[in-house]
């Protein structure tokens, strides 16, 4: 179903971090941006669709004021708002927001870090854009920071702090189908596997809490009112977001899942894990019977590679890209 394309070389290898691949399609310019985190550096590649041009950029994790400190980066993700695209980078020290091409840093938010080292790690992880103008970022303490982003300029403000999770946030996602009918438009996951379902707006509203089972939920997606969650046990679970009803449970991988992605137009689901496998699934929702069906379509084994990032490159799931620990390339697959 899919075949391997020419890989994209990157300047440094990928670190073992959840969802360690960012993809943004710039259709008017026939370009795709990719980001991969390596320790304290974000490797960025802009690739032309004809495969002829690749340009590289590296972003360092650095606070704007304190030149003497670097910290490890946890995640880099593109946030596509209706008015603008931003690249958000989270680290042990704080949150950086760049223009999507990485050229200008438009905002910096420092995390509260204690003077002396404590056993509790401090970092931000879990990034998503939601609604017209919000970017949400998770923090290791369990809180979620909501930033209000104007349609242009750097006047980004922290508008709300959501305190529902007790454990470190692992990932966040907004409704990706574009459907206006879904009440819930944001889901957040934590290290205990707990999921919170939200309705965004001037004040974010908690709609539902789906309890975990003491196992990290490392990656989460929201599609047509269904939460798709991947866990450290290698399982994928599908819940109805607002009721928390379990629709499906898949024994998907033999090791920790590191990344999930959905192609919203086709309902294809991508899952990738430390077991070196990437799998493609098909989700079908039947609103009449309120049921979800999951079918397995395809396996791709990246030999001897613990996969840390996997993302579709377009809304139909025609192509996807994969990164793995210690690997200095982005591997691409396209439908045959």
């Amino acid at each position: 179903m899919y075949h391997k394309e020419k890989s994209i070389q990157i300047k440094n290898s990928a670190s073992s971090l959840y969802n360690n691949l960012g993809v943004l399609r710039i259709a008017p310019r026939r370009l795709t941006y990719f980001t991969v985190v390596h320790a304290n550096v974000v490797n960025m590649v802009s690739a032309s669709w004809d495969g002829l041009n690749y340009s590289h950029r590296q972003l360092q994790s650095k606070e704007p004021n304190v030149a003497t400190s670097t910290s490890l980066i946890m995640q880099a993700a593109f946030c596509a708002l209706p008015s603008r695209d931003l690249l958000v980078v989270t680290s042990q020290k704080g949150i950086q927001m760049y223009e999507s091409d990485g050229s200008i840093m438009v905002y910096w938010h420092a995390l509260d870090t204690p003077e002396t080292s404590t056993a509790q790690a401090v970092f931000a992880r879990g990034i998503t854009a939601v609604w017209e103008n919000y970017i949400c970022v998770g923090v290791s303490s369990g809180v979620i920071l909501v930033f209000d982003v104007p349609s242009k300029g750097s006047n980004i403000t922290l508008s709300e702090v959501l305190e529902e999770h007790k454990e470190s946030i692992t990932d966040m996602a907004s409704e990706c189908s574009g459907s206006q009918e879904c009440i819930a438009d944001l889901v957040s996951a934590d290290d205990g596997g707990n999921l919170c379902v939200w309705k965004s707006g001037e004040e974010f509203q908690l709609l539902n809490k789906i309890p975990g089972f003491d196992m990290s939920c490392s990656s989460v997606k929201l599609w047509k009112g269904t939460v798709v969650a991947g866990y450290g046990t290698g399982q994928i679970r599908l819940y109805e977001a607002v009721t928390g009803i379990l629709h499906a449970e898949v024994n998907a991988h033999a090791r920790w899942i590191y990344s999930l992605d959905i192609a919203p137009f086709s309902g294809l689901l991508l899952s990738a894990a430390e077991d070196s496998l990437v799998r493609v699934w098909h989700l079908t929702l039947t609103p009449e019977t309120n049921s979800v069906e999951v079918a397995h379509l395809h396996n791709e084994c990246v030999t001897d590679t613990q996969i840390c990032g996997a993302k579709f490159c377009d809304g139909d799931g025609y192509a996807f890209a994969v990164t793995g620990y210690d690997l200095s390339e982005i591997i691409r697959y396209t439908q045959s």
Binding site: M215, G232, G234, D304, Y325
Partner: protein
Amino acid sequence: MSARTLPLLFINLGGEMLYILDQRLRAQNIPSDKARKADWIEEDRRRVMNDIITTMFNKKFLEELFKPQELYSKKALRTVFDRLAHASIMRLNQASMDKLYDLMTMAFKYQVLLCPRPKDILLVSFNHMDAIKDFVKDTPSILSQVDETYRQLIEMYTPLTSGEFQLIRQTLLIFFQDMHIRVSIFLKDKVQNSNGRFVLPTSGPVPHGTQVPGLIRMFSCTGEEVNRLQFNNGGSYSAAIREGSFEIFGDRVTKLGTNMYSVTRPVETHMSGTSKNSTQHTKVNAAPNPLAKEELNLLAKLMGGLEVQKPGNTVDSGFRVNLFATDEEEEEALISRPDELSYGVINIQATKDQQTNAELAKIMGEFTESGDQSPSASSKGDDLLAMMDGL
């Protein structure tokens, strides 16, 4: 990332170091090996092992080690192990120390990468601790020191959640990132490829708590299972085996972290720097580390607890151990070692940091002093440790 990583890194690397030294000390104790200046006798081997283990588990040192903190750079940690390896009467020169450190780090990288669940890093550590206890089983005073650390490990780590263990594992993997040194014992066992990457099997038992992939279950709104589908998982997995014991005594089940060396499986390395493919991956961040000074201070604090027995001027001190088959091979390795694999042990500069703190100054004093005494040893490299060999 995780501030709980350093104790596990230190204990597991230390454990691997002890396995290798034990094997080499036994191997060099063969009477037919006439080339040695002094044959090791059983008593010397035991003395070296005991001295190093006593130093490793020094109370003051461990107090510093167990404080929550970020990991040191590779260079800084290498400096700690240089010192630890020389905590007894045994001496290693630069090439042997490089090789020892390569073997230790690649072994632990393998264990971290292959451990089925992040939590199993603790079982790997317990395998090392069990072996260390066995090394000192006849010396009650050291044994009680090791047992005390064992209790500390259990107290600190067993309450951690799966997510916290994953963060520790990810922190370790960043530490070991881009290290692709080929190790002959791994190549022979076919667990490492010729490009230095480890083999990840898609077969065998799944981790405890994980189901064999291949089943999709769908439920109705009332929670009834309405459909069940099988799929091809692309591997040949079997059901999980029993979980290892997280108690002070018990069966760890996993073999990761146990001693893989023996008389019939000796210590050997290949250097990967000659392979074109792997040099591409060994990129070292050449930018000066702005944290270097802060790190030096922490390091000095930590090393303040490492009591090192200084070699006296008597003839019986300074037993030399070679990690290579012959002295010629050892010299060859030193010359041919590719630059990108050079650890460049931290050279603490007395003039720059004199004001930092007394502890640091003390350590610096110890290092520079021995360097000044034997400038003639520079033919084997200017490193301080090589100079110590000349003593």
